[in-house]
Structure formats: C-alpha cells, structure tokens
Amino acid sequence: MSKPRVAIFDFACCEGCQLQIVNLEEEIIDLVGAVDVVEWREAMSEQSHEYDIAIVEGSITRPEDEHRLQIIRSRAKILIALGACATIGGVNKMKNNFDLNEVKRCVYGKDAEMPHLATTTTRALHEVVDVDFKIHGCPINGEEFKQVVRDLLLGKKPVIPTYPVCVECKAKENVCRYEYDEICLGPIIRAGCGAPCPSAGWRCFGCRGLVDNPNVDAAKEVMEKYNLTVDDLKQKMVLFNSK
C-alpha cells in the first residue's frame, strides 16, 4: 500500500497549531515516514493538488477563503480541522459580536476598503464544508494529534473525548473553581487537553468547544447555586465560543 498523501493548509489563524506539529521534533521524522507530506507551507516549498488527507488550520473569514476551502474539500478524501480556529472559529469569532464595518475600520483604519481585506463573518470549517475529524484546542495537543493521525493510518476511528474537561480536572485533584464561587467552563467544554488551565489555577476558557450535548438548560439554576448568573457565564463564552 502506498503511503497516504497529506497536505497541510492554513486560513485565518496564528499558525500556532502547525507550530505544535513542528514542535513534535524527532517524531516529525516518524510522521513523515508514515505519510507522504505533499504540501505544507510552513515547512516546505512544494505544492500539490494531489492528496488524500487535508489538514486545515484556521477560520474562514473572506469569500475567497470559502472558495479555496471548497476546492481542498473536493480533492481530499479526509478533511481534518486543526485547532480552535478551524473547529469552532475560536478567537476569530469574537468579531461576530460587533458590526462588521466598525470592526474593519477599527482594525485596518484607512485600508479598510482594500479588496484583500474584504472580511466577512467568521466561520469554522464545518460551517462551510463537511469536516471528517476535528482536532480541538488552542493550540492543539501534540499527543492527541499524533494519536489521531496514527488511528487514521490504521483505518480506525480516532477516539476524541465526548465528555467534559471536569473529568480530567478531577483526575488531577484540583479543587473545582465553583467551590470558590468562580465560573469555569469545564462542565460544558470537551476534554482531551488534560485540563491544564484549571490545574494552573485558572478556569477553563473553552478552547476545545462545547461537548456534543452540553446541558445548557441547567445553566440558570446551577449558576444561582453559586450566586452567579447566566450572563456571567455567557461573558466567559465570548473568547472562544462566540456564535
């Protein structure tokens, strides 16, 4: 069997997730040994239109991005969204909370009307094309990335947690932020990161996106138990989980 051809692409993002792949260091060699990397702008100059697996980082923010993503989709057998920008829109979606013209003026000033800056509402990849697998996080977790790639190479469905961050947080013996009457997004955000943020004394900011079935109906009553409100909770959702 010939090695699957893999191409890595990026859209609106900081390229931090690709950096996580680069940071795999010696294991990069194993990765490159197991697959045939045919296009990866951050690491090589070649380009290719022939690939089996497309790994796509970043959000869709311009009409031409949408078009380019559709072409990638049509060529790839498997399309993987890499990182929060791609899986949920992530921080790029914060702008969707404001008037677009105002955002443009604020960010680009007098260049706001330049054609290549014609930004529109931010979308995650799955809001534009079908996505086969999502590797969550801002940035992604290198261990999870490796496991997903190896599972795909084996023809196995990758195991991506459907349970919330609390599972991993509790396993680390953290005291829950709620016990101090503080908000944490852990109960509704997908695990897989190992809960680094609550373990460091922060809250979960929600970078891995919502679990498949978040219990949103519980929010009001549960927040009241801690003298918090749903608005407090919503405010914390803006950073990574804006609409």
Binding site: V159, T162, Y163, P187, N213, A218, K225
Partner: protein, 346 residues
Amino acid sequence: MSVNTISKDRFKQFVEALIQSDQRVVGVQARGDRFVFDDLKAADALRLDYDVTILSPRKYVLPPKEPLLKFDGRASYESLQESEPMVLLGVHPYDMAAINQMDLLFSQDEYDNHYMCRRKKMTIIACDVATPSENVFAASMGTATVDSGYDMLLTDIGDAYVVEAATDNGKALMNLMPDARPASEADIEKRQAVWKKNEHDLNKHMLECKPSFLPKLLEKNYDHPVWEEKARLCYSCGSCNQVCPTCYCFDVQDEVNWDLKTGVRYRAWDGCLLQDFATVAGDHNFRKDRAARFRHRLYRKGKYVPGKIGGQIACVGCGRCITACTAKIANPVDVYNQLMERTDIG
C-alpha cells in the same frame, strides 16, 4: 492481633524509618486547603488529622491509567505488570471498606491479575477519622469504623496513637516501632470512645433507612420522578464517578506506535455518568438519557454491586461526590431519602 500504644513523637520516627525503607510510601498530605494521597517525602508532611482526600486511595489500588499489555500486530503480546511494594498510610475506615469491596470484586468471576498483584504488594495502614469532613455520612452506611482489610490500624487518642497490627505485614512494621508498648486498658477505652464518637459524628447526611433496605427500595423505584428531577441539572461530567472510592469501571484502549504494528493496550477510568459510557459498536448508546445514567450510578451503589458482594452497599458514605458535583445533585442520601418518602418498603 496485637494492640500497642506509641507517642506521637515516636510515631514520627517510625514514619521516617518507613520512608527510609525500600518500599514506596504514600501518605495523606495537605494540598492548598484540601488533602490528597501522595508520595511521602518527610514525616512532617503526613496529616493524619485530615478530614477527607480529594480523590480516594482507589488511585493506587486501580490507577487512573494502567498499561495491560504490549502487542506486536496480531502476532504476539506480552503482559505488563508495573506494580511495586507500597505502603498506603492514612486510609480512613470508609475508604478501607471500599478497598475491601474492590478486592472481592476483582478476585471473583474473572480473577484480575493486574489488580490482585498490585494489591498483594500493598501494605495498608488505616487510621480512624480525627476530623469529620463536611459531607461524610459513613455512620449511616456502617463504615464509620472498620475491622478488616488493613495491616495496621491507628487511632489518635490525643498525645499518642493506639496501633493495632492485624496481619504479618503489620506485625513486621512493629519492628520499626521499638518504643511502642502494649496498650493499657485506659488506652483501649480511649480508642472505644473515638469509635463511639465517630459512629455518631460521621453523619452529616442521615440516611432514613438501614443500608440493607436499599436494594429493595431501589427495586421498587425504577420509574420514580426523582431521577428526572435531579438529572435535569446533570452535566454528565462524571465528577461523582471520579472521586468515588467504589467506582471501578474502566475503558480499554490501544495506543499504537508509528510503525502501526506495535503498541500498548491500557485501561483507564471510565464513568457511568459520561455520555458515551454505554456506547457500543455501531455507535449504539443504550443509556442515552442523563436521567438513565444518573439512576444507573445509584442503582449500582445500592443494588447491582451489593448483589455481587453479599449485600454490602457500594456507597461507603465518604461524601466526596456531594462536594465534587458542580450541579449539587449527586448526594446519594438525598436521593435515597426522597425515595423513602414515597415508598412503602414493608
């Protein structure tokens, strides 16, 4: 069985000697404003006055993630055993009761080699509760004190500990306590007083029936509205499973290396409250509703597991799930009492 007394100062020397020995020593220590079991580096760090630990000692008896075997394609495999001699220092009676139940469960039906090997290399020094935690209800469950399973039992009687060596391992440890003297009658009475006090004090939530009624109570209430009422707020976060000393469900997964042939099969804690706990091949989930999963945990504790271990209730009243549940719905006593209110248990 031999019962001795040792002053707290001398006891500290014993702990130092234990740490210097060639066994791994795990003991209860402070972490922030709470307590945890962790490797003990100095006798001063040991906190036998603790109220409750965040996770139970289950994390040593059944580690959160444990390699089971190495494989090489489908061709061959080799069992992996990672256990080492270990002393577990400061196990409260309710947690001891939980370990006793696990020992039964892992040695019956499919004898679990990984578990039992580790368990056999473990020496347990239990200690009676000196400070009740805010949610403990062990007295309601008959686990405020314990009389088996440990190698050694310590009871704080003020300026000294009463030390009971119950097994050969325990008696061997007495060699590290040259200053212990046979407990006086007064010391034994003080120990009785601690037990009596704990039978009363470790009851922050009072179960309104004998634990032995629970299987019957549950049997009659499979469709009770309380399941839905409570589970409405459930996040399916499994915190109640994670912290529980009697939860023993695990999931088995393979981690394969880059050669796509060799790898390791391991097991990791699972939890029956998690959405996909009951998802099987073909993506069928036979416990899709939150309420069904919420009910399952309490049935497990109060009916299913007792059916396997001679009627012992698989909730030992540590109260950890009550503290850990963000939605504040996990309290087993609260649920069982609500069922009592509306049931004639005859």
